[in-house]
Symmetry: C2
Subunit: 223 residues, 2 copies
């Protein structure tokens, strides 16, 4: 059977789980602690990060969340998650990179990195200046999501794409620690509510991490 090495609160693992869910592909989930640098994980992926996909039988082992997402879209093309033509696909990839890198660097790293990852990995207590920076930066991104969602049915166009999944994956881990100011950004909230109600999203809402309880609205579809 297909296996995905992941962590339940890793945004990049979540992006790939959403891809698998949208494509209705099963995978056995193997939880990893990448901060311990386990040798079996380094053997699968010398970069040591998550997620890593191992296809069944003689299928490939694929590391790097975007490489996995592109692989899944090529090997299991229905439904496609990038778009119908090079121009649409370029826009989906531009926005996917926006959330994987820009949003991660400006928001997720500050909030999730300080609060969740540090606690899971036994890091130092959160630095309030870093948390403040993340909490300030998230508004720009939610404003951008709202701007896009007002003009298009989904972030990259009229079809759901990897851009929506990448954005939702990042936001979902921040929402787990209650740090998304949804009420200031109603259009972004509407877009997220549509994603949250999809069957692919359900397993993420059931995830828990030891010692960290999400706020009540986290798993509520009508938040």
């Amino acid at each position: 059977m297909r296996r995905l090495h992941h962590h339940p609160l890793c945004p990049f693992s979540r992006k790939v789980r959403l891809c698998l869910g949208e494509k209705r592909l099963d995978a056995e989930l193997i939880e990893e602690k990448p901060w311990e640098r386990p040798p079996h994980l380094l053997a699968l992926n010398p970069a040591g990060n998550l997620p890593v996909l191992c296809e069944a039988e003689n299928g490939p082992t694929v590391a790097d969340a975007q490489a996995i997402a592109e692989y899944l879209d090529e090997a299991h093309p229905d439904p496609g998650l990038l778009g119908p033509d090079p121009k649409a696909r370029a826009e989906a990839r531009r926005l996917t990179a926006w959330f994987d890198h820009k949003f991660f660097d400006e928001v997720t790293r500050h909030l999730w990195g300080q609060k969740l990852w540090s606690r899971l990995a036994g890091g130092p207590p959160p630095d309030s200046r870093v948390l403040r920076a993340g909490k300030a930066n998230i508004h720009t991104h939610l404003t951008y999501i709202a701007w896009l969602a007002e003009r298009r049915r989904w972030l990259a166009g009229n079809s759901l794409s990897l851009a929506d999944l990448a954005a939702a994956a990042q936001l979902s881990v921040i929402d787990y620690s209650g740090d998304v100011p949804w009420n200031d950004h109603p259009l972004a909230k509407d877009w997220y509510a549509r994603l949250k109600s999809r069957p692919a999203f359900r397993p993420l809402l059931a995830d828990t991490a030891p010692g960290i309880t999400p706020p009540p609205h986290y798993a509520d579809l009508d938040f």
Copy 2:
């Protein structure tokens, strides 16, 4: 005509210029100073970074180096730069991400960020501790390149791929400041010499930046 908004010493701009060169696609190069956040650049790409590709006539505007590379490979598929099948393409994308993100974060950001980018953008003088970290980290990456190049003709397999171009683009800007310890890594040096002698590489070797002179070996094919 196709236009590429770039900076001559931006490694991500260089990755796309190498793609264009390998595909024998012409582009007018428009030099930008992204650190000044010029409004025309933000209008093309709200992320404000480089490169940005504008296809001729009614063609799309594409931002984000990897989105541009994927777009070029779809819209202009000959020669392909990702590989013949999903497994090979996954490996090319894994390694491309390695150099775009892991190498950039561990090496380029420290050396190029401190020495070249700070100087071009008028930043503070280099921090010797950061430079030391970059100089230590580069050995692991050159060892990995050598390991790959000993087992495969090119980094991701038997054909030249985007992984080679991504790696060479990062290394080329570090080489511009004379910080690549080539003589400690002869197999990596052989691989780079093969890339450096390709016609697509030639324009990069002719680039200069005001006030920063590269070492004599920078443009020497027999370095």
